[in-house]
Amino acid sequence: MTTAVTDELSVELRGFRQVQRLAYECAEAVAAQLRPGVTEREAARMQRAWLRERGVRDWFHLPFAWFGDRTAFVNFRVPLQFFPTDRRLEPGMPFILDMAPVYDGYTADIGYSGSLGVNPVQDRLMADLEAHRELILREVRERRPLRAIYEDVDRLMVRQGYANRHRAYPFGVIAHKVDRVRQRRFSPHLFGFGTQSLKGLAADALHGHREGWSPLWSPYRFSDHPPRPGLWAVEPHLGFRGTGAKFEEILVVTDSRDPVESAFWLDDDLPHVRRWAEEK
């Protein structure tokens, strides 16, 4: 790889890293403002307002907020149930904030788990997510088929005693590709998803369909291919008896032969990673 290409790559990555940090800052700021009685809708609105103030105009998807047993998607049957409700936050309740802002054409998609006060179950889930982050990176570097990695994550969850809750996402995805988005003055959204991003995803899906890969990392046959270079928003989601926890962040996959260069997390300075480091 020439230096010019590397530089270009690092400029790109810096853009993505910046917006991912911004999103996590937003999550931490909003989480700090959550009080008993706040509803999911209010929490989602707070995220939206916070990011709008800082220049976000478009979204991969609008911010979500899940409280209580909705963090584990208990009894979710139709996708509409993902949207924020009037469920109120109570002391000890777990919550998850999930947002995907587009800033300056760069997309982030993050998930932040926390609880109002102490929630030992969710603490435990978060601690156990560390193994998943390591497992995913290791196996992507080994270039194993995405479907096989998905199944390994599944097995690890079962061994830990948890249920796989990312299965509830559309297509049961554990990750999906994200990309640069063209900035338009008018950026409408469809069912909570930005049309520009959906367009990108659809284009990828079309290409992928011809070439034998998919921008969605699912348990199905269409994900039975080695990791495709690009940026993947990875979101393992654990559930345990009405409590859920996830993280979501961008994994960079390149076509480099060097294993370390071939895949790496976009940023290692994120709240959940810092937390694991502190616990050690």
Partner: protein, 583 residues
């Protein structure tokens, strides 16, 4: 009858009460109040179990046992006078510290008065009530149902009205006394044995005819007055633990529906037993009383368990085999969530430890992991001894460990057969034999759940060995259920269909090489994954089966469908048995 009890007599309001004490006086005081027709000896089993940890006080209510009767009897048994007696007793035995009251039957009725009147405020630390509602609450309960007589509420009224037949009988003059002093008094022990499963052992005492005759005035002096004009301010000023026996012939469970309005700090417990629980379930009562008293002494009244069946399983000891994964693990978690103490048994030590660890996290007050292969007879015997010695007698046993084995009959080798029968059948036999025996010997009820399978009644040419082992488990459960029914021990067989667990990835496939076996495991795991029936739902069915004492419980729609077909269209089921599974 009460060994090692110190006796004293307390004079109050013209009567002399016989008071017995057990245990060190420095400990928290627990006062046990007996009901009708009883004397303090009804508590003998519970009192001895509590004496190690508490200062236990029992007294004969006026006119009962060795306490003297008021003269005249009429008007001598009002709740006001009974409260005077109670205060005199606790002033004598625990002048400085508030006491924990435990009442059964009329002992509970009068303790409700103690805990809701003002003059005892600060003298009562907690109250455990069993089978005795407050007459005032009862009055309000009737009134609210008369005011708004919906069909359901009228049904409740009529139900309790029928159960109260003896109350009307006791209001007849003279006749009850004559009956008690005559034939009824003589036959009472046999009646108790026959209908209430209360075994002898020096109970009831010889004073019974006298107690029962005097005690009739408890009803005559209070029931009509209180039911007609219930006090308006009957709020409890101490935390209350309500223990409801579910098979009580005299009191409906519905009586306690509105209790939360009167008791701000209420803990509910239910027990599948008849009216005389101090005689039939002393272990469970002692453990709940200990837990409640210790919790209130420590200033904590809430129970951590949040599960749906926490009232029923709180503090019970549950042992689950095969608890390292799948249905077993989910069942352990479900019981843990209901506040049960959990023993997680699995041959995989790490997985069992993990289950125990997470069980504590979701609400089990205690949880332990044991590494045992259920097919190993000696290991199981050792486990049974250890569990009995260290954790106690198991209240609910879940024989769940099992392995899968596919392949045609002629491909299945004798070793394969032995292996699958050793785990799936002998594991269950050992569990029932060892832990069931402990349960039966204790004689205080319990429940055994065996995990069979829909394969127990759905034949298949692809699963001959597995289905045979599960059919055996189903029949074993049915036979054992018949044998243990008389001892208050229920047996349930759970028959799940395709449940998303790792049994598919550990299953053996007879008659194929290692590579093909791997492929089939993977394929079946995928198919089960697509079916995606979660083991948590099976766990819920297990708890429900115990609560309702169900015999055979098919779980998942396909299992229920096959169960129906096995009864009504067995030929169709046999046709299905010939299909080749898509592996």
């Amino acid at each position: 009858m009460l060994k090692g009890a110190r006796e004293r007599r307390v004079r109050t309001g013209g009567v002399e009460l016989c008071v017995a004490e057990l245990g060190e006086t420095g400990r928290p005081t627990v006062v046990l109040v007996h009901g009708y027709p009883d004397s303090k000896e009804v508590w003998s089993e519970v009192a001895t179990r509590l004496a190690d940890r508490f200062h236990v006080v029992l007294y004969d209510v006026r006119g009962h046992g060795r306490s003297s009767a008021p003269q005249p009897l009429r008007g001598g048994f009002t709740l006001e006078k009974l409260t005077d007696d109670f205060l005199a007793v606790i002033d004598a035995v625990s002048p400085d510290r508030p006491v924990h009251v435990v009442g059964h039957d009329w002992g509970s009725v009068q303790s409700w008065e103690f805990v809701t009147v003002q003059r005892t405020e600060g003298r009562i630390a907690s109250f455990t009530s069993m089978s005795g509602p407050s007459l005032d609450h009862f009055g309000h309960w009737i009134n609210s149902r008369l005011r708004k007589p919906t069909p359901r509420r009228v049904g409740q009224l009529l139900g309790q009205g029928a159960k109260s037949w003896y109350v009307y009988a006791l209001h007849t003059p003279v006749l009850p006394e004559l009956a008690w002093r005559g034939p009824l008094g003589k036959r009472w022990p046999a009646v108790l044995r026959r209908f209430e499963k209360v075994t002898g052992d020096g109970y009831p005492t010889t004073s019974l005819p006298q107690d029962a005759a005097h005690g009739a005035w408890l009803y005559r002096d209070n029931v009509r007055a209180r039911l007609r004009r219930p006090r308006p301010d009957v709020y409890a000023h101490a935390p209350v633990q309500l223990i409801t026996p579910l098979e009580d012939a005299f009191l409906s469970q519905r009586l306690y529906d509105d209790l939360d309005t009167w008791v701000p700090r209420l803990t509910r417990r239910t027990l599948p037993a008849k009216h005389w629980i101090p005689r039939t379930r002393p272990d469970q009562l002692a453990s709940w009383i200990t837990e409640f008293v210790t919790a209130t002494e420590g200033g904590r009244t809430e129970v951590a368990a949040t599960g749906k069946y926490a009232e029923r399983f709180g503090g019970q000891l549950v042992l689950v085999t095969g608890a390292g994964s799948g249905i077993g693990r989910a069942t352990a978690f479900a019981f843990a969530e209901a506040g049960a103490r959990v023993v997680a048994v699995d041959r995989d030590a790490e997985a069992a430890t993990r289950t125990a660890e997470l069980s504590r996290l979701v609400g089990a007050p205690e949880a332990w992991a044991e590494t045992v292969d259920v097919s190993d007879e000696q290991a199981m015997e050792k486990l049974a001894d250890k569990v009995a010695a260290e954790y106690g007698v198991v209240d609910v046993l879940v024989n769940n460990a099992g392995i899968g084995l596919g392949g045609s009959f002629f491909d299945t080798t004798p070793e394969d057969w032995k292996k699958v029968l050793d785990v799936n059948l002998w594991g269950v036999i050992h569990g029932c034999r060892l832990f069931g025996k402990q349960m039966a010997e204790r004689g205080q009820g319990g429940h055994i759940v065996n995990t069979a399978s829909a394969a127990a009644y759905q034949p298949s040419k692809a699963l001959p060995a597995y289905s045979t082992s599960k059919a055996a488990v189903l029949m074993l459960s049915e036979c054992l259920r018949a044998e243990l029914a008389g001892q208050g021990i229920g047996v349930s067989a759970i028959c799940p269909g395709f449940v998303n667990t790792n049994i598919t990835s550990t299953a053996r496939f007879a008659g194929v090489d290692a590579e093909e076996e791997k492929r089939r495991q993977k394929k079946s795991a995928r198919l089960y994954g697509l079916r995606n029936y979660p083991p948590e739902k099976v766990a819920d069915a297990v708890l429900k089966a115990v609560v309702r004492n169900q015999a055979v419980v098919p779980v998942t729609p396909e299992a229920r469908g096959a169960h129906l077909m096995s009864r009504f269209t067995p030929r169709a089921l046999r046709a299905i048995a010939r299909l080749e599974p898509p592996l």
